[in-house]
Amino acid sequence: MKLDAKIPTGPLETKWSRYLSEIKLVNPANKRKYEILVVGSGLGGAAAAATLGELGYRVKCFCYQDSARRAHSISAQGGINAAKNYQNDGDSVYRLFFDTIKGGDFRAREANVYRLAELSGAIIDQCVAQGVPFAREYGGQLANRSFGGAQVSRTFYARGQTGQQLLLGCYSALMRQVDTGMVSLFSRREMLDVVMVDGRARGIVCRNLVTGEIEKYAADAVCLATGGYSTVYFLSTNAVNCNATAAWRCYKKGALFANPCFTQIHPTCLPQAGEGQSKLTLMSESLRNDGRVWVPKAKGDKRPPREIPESDRDYFLERKYPAFGNLAPRDISSRAAKEACDNGYGVGPTGFSVYLDFAEAIERLGDNVIRERYGNLFAMYHEITDEDPFKQPMRIYPAPHYTMGGLWVDYSLMTTIPGLYALGEANFSDHGANRLGASALMQGLADGYFVIPATISDYLADNRPDGLGTDHDAFTESVNGINEQVSSLLGVNGSKSVRDFHWELGRIMWEKVGMARNEKGLTEAISDIQALREDYWKNVKVGGSNEEFNKSLEFAGRVADFIELGELMARDALDRAESCGGHFREEYQTSDGEALRNDEEFCNVSAWEFKGVDKYPELHREFLEFENIGLSQRSYK
């Protein structure tokens, strides 16, 4: 298979407009004859479903939640980037593009990232027009804040609930299309397979999570907006039901999976408290605008933080990265915190946390300003830990948060399966080896509002509706396969719960495929995960039946997929013998401990092709060309 990203020719600045003027269109009267399935109702999915409905396509939108408004995009806190340059601080489309490429450690496609930066401004316009209550200045203009990896203020926000407000904006646009009858919603459905006819994606099969019924839906194209796979680590900042199943089943049907080892460990999360924990809570990166990260200078210093004088504190981010300080990118900040804790400087009961201190900002700005900026985050922290951040510093530790890897897509967001698209976090395309803060919301909305509604017509124009129904053999075959898997899961009836296995997988992944990786650990991880998979199918206890509301069964299918995905992540991490962004291989680092890339051998996207659960997947490389930005060692010093 030769990977062709189908990047338009010509100068970077004109690629997207040129693409738009050259693609085929579907005329308005014909659009209603096409049926498009959108799986997922987060920023990418809801924006896509709403916009495709506005254009006149018939759309069905699916989500596992009880309502489309609950998709995990809702948890994003800090903000959304856009190159508006409202602050007159030198921002531009080029600068946002540059920051994103550099932040991603030169492992993203230039053309995709430039398009993202180009579309960023229109996203803000769209959201404001929907009634998203962004923060404003006294004069009525939109306010901005700063985020990691940038030296300009280009982040728009709605208190600490930006994701919620953007998602509710998309959701309202989606409900408007439901009102007009263009979009039908199917909540409490889990996609379990993509159905292919003549090599093209022609529908999906889902499980109705209330009745257990396996349902079939035929269509002319399928858009996956099913998010990322951080819950492979069990403990992550993702919602507990977030899963990789839809994307993974597509991978097993032939869609290539790109850069699975590129995961983001977010620096500012609450440290773990016990084994009963179900997730790790994120504290927005925006806190690093005013919070200062430090550990005691002496190992094992047990004094309460307020009793440790300035001279005995190490503000390690400010010390190591003076130019960006506490706003160094996420991968760098996370590793610095891990290093401090690994070397014995960590604080808190377990020694695995560092301080994020607001004392100086409170002194400078007063309680009220800090409360206005971060009130809900402080309250959340206080509730969880019983410690008041106004009185003592927060304790934070890195946690899995976002996955840059995902299904491989070309410039039009189509996967290697014709008619199957992947949007937002579900694809791999824009963030390279590390995503900058406030860029996930930007990408989800760019893909959903602007990219897919345009690019999909080029495919649909060539593949006219042919009346394919769900009585086609391909659907029957898919349903049979799913029924078989469900009954084998229920039939094992072993002694360990699904959670036990997920916890164990998470432990292996965190220890050996986590923030720092090495050849030995990765090799062990692969065999550990294989053994876990074998044990899973012998010893898992699911309980209940298929024909009912059965969370344990839902989780059982997801964890089976996570185990397979975990192995692929380890293989990818082992193959990529370099460090870049969030992928830090201990063998490859500079003398001062920074990620050491190997551009000679690895300036590429690694896209994996499924060959069977027990077989080594085939690796395809898409070489990345940097025509506009010279490859260089990232420096935030």
């Binding site: 409202y86 769209q126 009634g131 209550p133 408007r176 009102d179 507990v240 009963g276």
Partner: protein
């Protein structure tokens, strides 16, 4: 720590349902209420009994998925806090804690603590939006919005759509939920052209779904995990009147 959990068990919508009491041990104060239920379910699964089904997702108080009644209070005894954020340190060791689903005509029980809240979705589809097609928006700073208006709109927009207001209301009214959306969009210039029609349609849909009317008990405000004020309901009534009279 150890607790007695008295929890509502109902196999399906047609089952009459009943309370069962279980003992949960090894609870730590940092655990959330839902993590305590996870622990209970692990025990039940291993004993071959069916786990207590409940809805949850983000587990950080923003998605609005979780919603249970704890000791008679929607989301439990702590103010401005969802069940997933509520920590076990708020309960005395050894206590018996009663757990029930949200009960309201508009929210039929699916199983155990899981209810169907699709009625909210249908209310949102009856005008809970500002009509604007993608791509047709003017520059975001074209329309200036005073800071206090944006903040007020945000106070209403903070609603997470969990339905605690309905569960807490003696009339099973969804007025707080509906009014939060009506208020957000009537405060902002973007929502103004449709404000009258929106208020009328959303209120009528709420009635059709079987939710009761508001008679100023204010239980909703007390139960709301996002502290949405009943001032929103007052505004919704004004908007409804204006809309009904102008159409």
């Amino acid at each position: 720590m150890k607790y007695q959990i008295k929890v509502w068990r109902q196999k399906n919508p047609d089952d009459t349902g009943k309370f069962e009491t279980y003992t949960v041990e090894d609870v730590i104060p940092e655990m959330s209420f839902l993590e305590m239920l996870d622990l209970l379910n692990e025990q039940l699964i291993k004993r071959g009994e069916s786990p207590v089904e409940f809805d949850s997702d983000c587990r950080e108080g923003i998605c609005g998925t979780c919603g249970i009644v704890i000791d008679g209070m929607a989301h439990g005894p702590k103010r401005a806090c969802t069940a997933c954020e509520l920590r076990m340190r708020n309960f005395d060791e050894g206590a018996t804690i009663t757990v029930e689903p949200f009960r309201a005509r508009g929210f039929p029980v699916i199983k155990d603590l899981v209810v169907d809240r699709c009625a909210f979705e249908r209310i949102m589809a009856a005008g809970g939006y500002a009509s604007v097609n993608t791509g047709s928006a003017p520059d975001a700073n074209t329309m200036l919005i005073p800071k206090y208006i944006a903040e007020k709109a945000m106070d209403s927009a903070a609603c997470i759509g969990c339905g605690a207001c309905v569960a807490a209301c003696p009339n099973g009214s969804a007025s707080l939920f509906v009014s939060a959306k009506v208020t957000q969009l009537s405060l902002l210039p973007q929502g103004t052209p449709e404000r009258g029609r929106r208020a009328v349609r959303m209120v009528e849909q709420m009635d059709r779904e079987g939710f009761g009317n508001c008679s100023n008990h204010a239980e909703c405000e007390a139960a709301c995990p996002k502290s949405i004020s009943i001032e929103n309901i007052a505004r919704m009534r004004r908007e409804y009147m204006k809309g009904a009279l102008s159409d």
